[in-house]
Every structure is written in structure tokens, then in C-alpha cells.
């Protein structure tokens, strides 16, 4: 039910309620006029019984209307609302006609009463209905005043015919004013026309139209999703094939390369017979070349491994960082022992909350950092892993972990390049030939994917400290 219908319904109710008032006024009016007539002409039509019948029939009708208003509001039935309006107009018309028919001959103001149903029509219905009612009222007035066409008195007709014009005039004026209500209807209709139509068929059509459209879109979406899924699977299988190709090729190549490396090595060390200086020089170059090839292959394998790990999605879990570090440190038992390195783990005395992270990925980070620290720390050196809870009480709750070594350090001029792919410090190559330089690259990637940060301090010859922070919650 739109605003206008709601408004009309409200007026329906008001007309019902106001009727109580003018029933009473009408009856008092009749009694008064009748009393005046009585004294003059000794003629009275009205007895108390008639008035009671009039009063009670009007009252019953009013109760019925009251019920109907509730019904229309409850059912939001526009058609019934109109029927109710017509009923009310008719009832008032009759009521007013009855009053006029008995008093009008002596009271000229009586025809004015017929304006009431006209106003009512203007409010409750449209312009045509109002015009209809006003013309009808004009005829009814003549009808009543001529005593149902039995007393064709020209003077009476002349006296009251202007009322016909007045009715028409009022019908137009009222309608002009109440038309604004229908404009409101028009306005709201226009506003929502694009989305909602008023009539049931239009609504149905609208629903059907959009229903088909949505169905079509759904189908398209589904097709797209399927397409994407297939593409993803294809990509994944391609990626797997690539990985397999790299891994197989690299391993195949490492076998003969190992042989060549060993041959150069044995020849150089004179195990396959004496060699002269020139031969040694070229053999040395050959050995370096093979070494480079092997390094390239190693990098290829490592990167492929990392890239395939990168493809794997992050699986967040609740991680107890202290337990995880203790776990990872155990993996390095052999390395520490063989290099006689002192590996210390300092954890806070309080129990730390678990952090939301991918345990597998964080393990890789810890392994990389600790592995680097051990690799680049000389025999008998010291490596320290510390969990710092200072930033636990800040606005962005996070845990800081750092790994400090007493190793060779990173030369100052190379410090900017540390997190690049394939970076290897100039002083690292001699110490630890078996490195590809992708460890820190992937470490930084993992930390940043966890919305944490990774940084370091280092002095060549004194050691390096790598720090990382991880937020407690990922959201």
C-alpha cells in the first residue's frame, strides 16, 4: 500500500469518526427546524421514533465502516478501500439528503450540506468521481426540492438551480487542491517506477524479467568459475611439470658434473699423474667453471622448491612461538656440535599468547635465520635466539624474535641488497660455498605475508642480528 492509499485510508477513518459528530448535529438541526415549523404551520413530520431509527441506523452503518477501515488496513486491499470510500460517500449523501428533504423548504442553507459528500469524494477519490457526485448532487437537490418531481415550482427551481453550478465549482476547486495528494502518488510512483511497479501484473513481469536475468547471470558466473577452475588446474599441472622438469634435469646434470669436478680435482692434486704448471692453470679454470655450473643448478633447484612452496596457500593456525623455536633448534643439534657453536635460546619468563600464523612457513623463517647464523659463524662462535615480548602491550600486539650471531657480518656497502633474490655477500662465498642466496628473499616474503617485518643490524667481522615481528592476530 503506497503513501496515497495510506493517506486516503486515514481520511476514511476520520470521516467515519466525524460522522458521529454530524449525525448529532443533523438530528439537533432537524429537531430545531421542526420545532420552528411546528409553531408556524402546525405540521411536523418528525417524531422521536423516526429520529431514533435515523440515529441507530447511522450508528450501525458507522460501526460497519469502522470495521471495514480496519479490514482494508489489515489486508492492504486497494480495491476494498475504494469500495469503502464509495460506501461512505453514499451514506453521507443519503444522510444529508434526508436532512435536506425535510428542512430545506424553509431553510435556504440546507443545500450547502450537499457539499459534504462532494468534499469527501474529492479527498477519497479522483476528479471524475467528484464531478460525477457534484452533478448527481445537483439533480438530487432538484429532485428533493420538487418533492420528487411532484411539485414543479419554478420559483424553487430558480432559487436552487445556482447550487448546481456551485457544486460543480466546488467539485473543481476541491479537486484542484486535493489533486496534490495524487501528485504525491505520481511523484512517488515516478521515483520508484524503475524498480517497482504498482499493479500486480507489472510486478509479476518485473519479477519474471529480473528472475531470468539473474538466472542468466548465475549461469554465466558458474561457467566463468568452471573456466577459471580448469585454467587453475592447468596452470598447477603445468607448474608441476615445470618443477619436475627442472628437478629431473638438474639431478641428471649433477651426476656428470660431479664426475667432471672430481676429475679436475684429482688431476689438480696430482693423483692421476704429474702435471705441469700450464696444465694446472687450465685445469683450475675448468674446476672453477664446473663449480659455477653446479652452483647455478643448486640455485635452480632451491628456487623451484621455494616457488612451489610459495604457491601453497597459507594455512593459519594458533602457533606457540616458543615451542616452535625449541623444535627448530633441535634440528640443528648436529650442526652446532660439529662447529662447536654455543646456541642459546632466551625466552620471556611469562607465558606468551599464541600467534595466528602458518606454522610451516614460520618454521622455514626460523630455519633460514638460524641456519644462516650457524653457517656464517666461525667454529666456537655463539648464536643467540631471543623472543622479546616488549611489543606485546602496544596497540598492535606483536611478538619480536631475533637471531644474533658472532659471525662474519655483512659488508656495509652490500647491506641494501641483502633481501634480493640470489644475493650472497662477497665474504660469504668463501666461507660457505653451498648457498644460493634465496633464503632471505623467501624469509622476508613469508614475514611480510604475515603482516610482520624483517630487518637486521650487522657489522662486518662482528656479527649480524636479524629481527622479525609477527602480529598476534592476522585480522
Amino acid at each position: 500500500m503506497n503513501q496515497v492509499e495510506q493517506f486516503k485510508l486515514t481520511y476514511n477513518l476520520r470521516f467515519v469518526l466525524s460522522r458521529w459528530f454530524y449525525i448529532c448535529v443533523g438530528i439537533i438541526f432537524i429537531i430545531g427546524v421542526d420545532y420552528l415549523n411546528l409553531t408556524k404551520t402546525d405540521l411536523h413530520f418528525w417524531r422521536g421514533d423516526d429520529l431514533l431509527i435515523l440515529f441507530f441506523s447511522s450508528a450501525i452503518l458507522n460501526f460497519i465502516f469502522l470495521f471495514l477501515v480496519q479490514y482494508v488496513e489489515f489486508k492492504t486491499d486497494v480495491f476494498f478501500g475504494r469500495l469503502l470510500a464509495w460506501g461512505q460517500i453514499l451514506a453521507d449523501f443519503l444522510l444529508v439528503s434526508i436532512i435536506i428533504s425535510f428542512v430545506s423548504s424553509s431553510v435556504a442553507v440546507a443545500p450547502v450540506l450537499l457539499l459534504l459528500p462532494i468534499i469527501e469524494t474529492a479527498i477519497l477519490l479522483g476528479v471524475f468521481e467528484t464531478l460525477f457526485v457534484s452533478i448527481f448532487s445537483s439533480f438530487a437537490l432538484i429532485f428533493i426540492l420538487t418533492n420528487f418531481l411532484t411539485q414543479m415550482d419554478l420559483s424553487i427551481l430558480g432559487q436552487f438551480s445556482p447550487f448546481a453550478l456551485v457544486y460543480l465549482f466546488f467539485a473543481l476547486v476541491f479537486n484542484y487542491h486535493f489533486e496534490s495528494i495524487n501528485n504525491l502518488n505520481f511523484f512517488t510512483k515516478k521515483q520508484i517506477k524503475k524498480d517497482v511497479s504498482t499493479t500486480k501484473t507489472e510486478q509479476l513481469e518485473w519479477v519474471r524479467k529480473y528472475g531470468t536475468k539473474m538466472e542468466e547471470n548465475n549461469r554465466r558466473l558458474y561457467a566463468k568459475e568452471l573456466e577459471l577452475r580448469i585454467a587453475k588446474e592447468e596452470l598447477e599441472s603445468l607448474d608441476k611439470a615445470k618443477s619436475k622438469f627442472i628437478s629431473v634435469t638438474a639431478h641428471q646434470m649433477r651426476t656428470p658434473l660431479s664426475g667432471i669436478k672430481w676429475t679436475f680435482n684429482m688431476m689438480l692434486s696430482g693423483q692421476l699423474g704429474e702435471i705441469n704448471e700450464e696444465q694446472a692453470k687450465f685445469l683450475k679454470q675448468g674446476e672453477v667453471g664446473v663449480g659455477q655450473l653446479i652452483t647455478i643448478l643448486n640455485s635452480l633447484l632451491e628456487i623451484d622448491k621455494i616457488e612451489s612452496k610459495k604457491l601453497a596457500e597459507f594455512k593459519l593456525d594458533e602457533v606457540n612461538i616458543v615451542n616452535l623455536i625449541e623444535d627448530v633448534i633441535k634440528e640443528f643439534d648436529n650442526q652446532i656440535e660439529s662447529k662447536k657453536i654455543l646456541l642459546e635460546f632466551n625466552k620471556p619468563t611469562i607465558n606468551l599468547p599464541t600467534i595466528q600464523a602458518d606454522p610451516g612457513k614460520i618454521r622455514v623463517v626460523l630455519e633460514n635465520l638460524i641456519d644462516n647464523a650457524i653457517k656464517y659463524t666461525p667454529i666456537g662462535g655463539r648464536v643467540e635466539v631471543v623472543v622479546n615480548d616488549d611489543k606485546l602491550n602496544s596497540a598492535n600486539q606483536m611478538i619480536e624474535v631475533f637471531v644474533r650471531d658472532s659471525g662474519i657480518g655483512i659488508p656495509y656497502i652490500e647491506q641494501k641488497k641483502v633481501f634480493g633474490k640470489f644475493f650472497r655477500a662477497s665474504n660469504a662465498v668463501g666461507t660457505e660455498p653451498d648457498g644460493s642466496g634465496v633464503g632471505l628473499f623467501i624469509t622476508k616474503d613469508i614475514i611480510e605475508n604475515h603482516k610482520g617485518s624483517l630487518w637486521f643490524e650487522s657489522k662486518a667481522g662482528q656479527g649480524t642480528t636479524f629481527h622479525f615481528t609477527l602480529p598476534i592476530r592476522q585480522a
Binding site: H251, R254, T255, S258, G259, W262, L301, P433
Partner: protein, 124 residues
């Protein structure tokens, strides 16, 4: 000095001949196997003091051969040094889990390193 016998399990002829040459030079006695299955039987027959085991082998791979050897009473305590071009963390862990004493990646080491490793397992 008691001569130790070393079993070389290696399918690549080039690498095998180089390794054999180098070990011979050090004065070790040698036994040779070119696949996993014969590695197990040769090991049982020859009773080597140490086994140099490749992992990618025909017929039966090195992991399975290692597992078999460790189930045989006489081979339970023989040191096994895996000498392979597999070298991913998982491979190393798997081999150690099956009872390998050491793991060397061929491309990253030289035969001198192998000799050093062998010596560390065999008392003079």
C-alpha cells in the same frame, strides 16, 4: 694397518670408476655394486667395513636397499655413507631415518671430502 673393504654402490660408470680409483689410491679394498638389489647381496657376501651408497639406482633404489641392509643382522652396524645427488632436506631426513650415518651431496663435495669422511668412520 688392517685393510678395510669398502662397498661402492653407484650406477654411473664414470663416477664409479673415479671413486674406485680414489679409494684404491688410499689403499682400501673395494667391492662394487651397480644397483640396489645387488648392493644388498654383495654387502652380505663381502662384509664391507663401510658402504658408500647412491640413492637413485636401477631395480631397487638406495632408500629401499638401505632399509633391507638394516634388517640384516650382519649389516646392521656397518656404517653407511649416502653419497648422492639427491640432497633435499626431505631426502636427507629420510635416509638418516632409515639408518644412514652420513649424507654427502656429490656435486657439492670432492672425493677428498669422501676420503676424509670414510677415514672418520674407519679406525686406522
Amino acid at each position: 694397518m688392517a685393510t678395510h673393504k669398502i662397498l661402492i654402490v653407484e650406477d654411473d660408470e664414470f663416477l664409479r670408476s673415479l671413486t674406485a680409483k680414489r679409494l684404491e689410491k688410499e689403499g682400501y679394498e673395494l667391492a662394487i655394486a651397480a644397483d640396489g638389489e645387488s648392493a644388498v647381496s654383495v654387502a652380505q657376501d663381502e662384509k664391507p667395513s663401510l658402504i658408500l651408497l647412491d640413492l637413485l639406482l636401477p631395480i631397487m633404489n638406495g632408500f629401499d636397499a638401505l632399509e633391507k641392509m638394516r634388517q640384516i643382522e650382519s649389516l646392521k652396524s656397518v656404517p653407511v655413507v649416502v653419497f648422492s645427488n639427491l640432497g633435499q632436506k626431505e631426502d636427507i631426513e629420510r635416509a638418516k631415518g632409515l639408518g644412514a650415518n652420513d649424507f654427502l651431496i656429490k656435486a657439492n663435495f670432492t672425493l677428498d671430502d669422501v676420503i676424509e669422511k670414510v677415514k672418520s668412520y674407519l679406525p686406522l
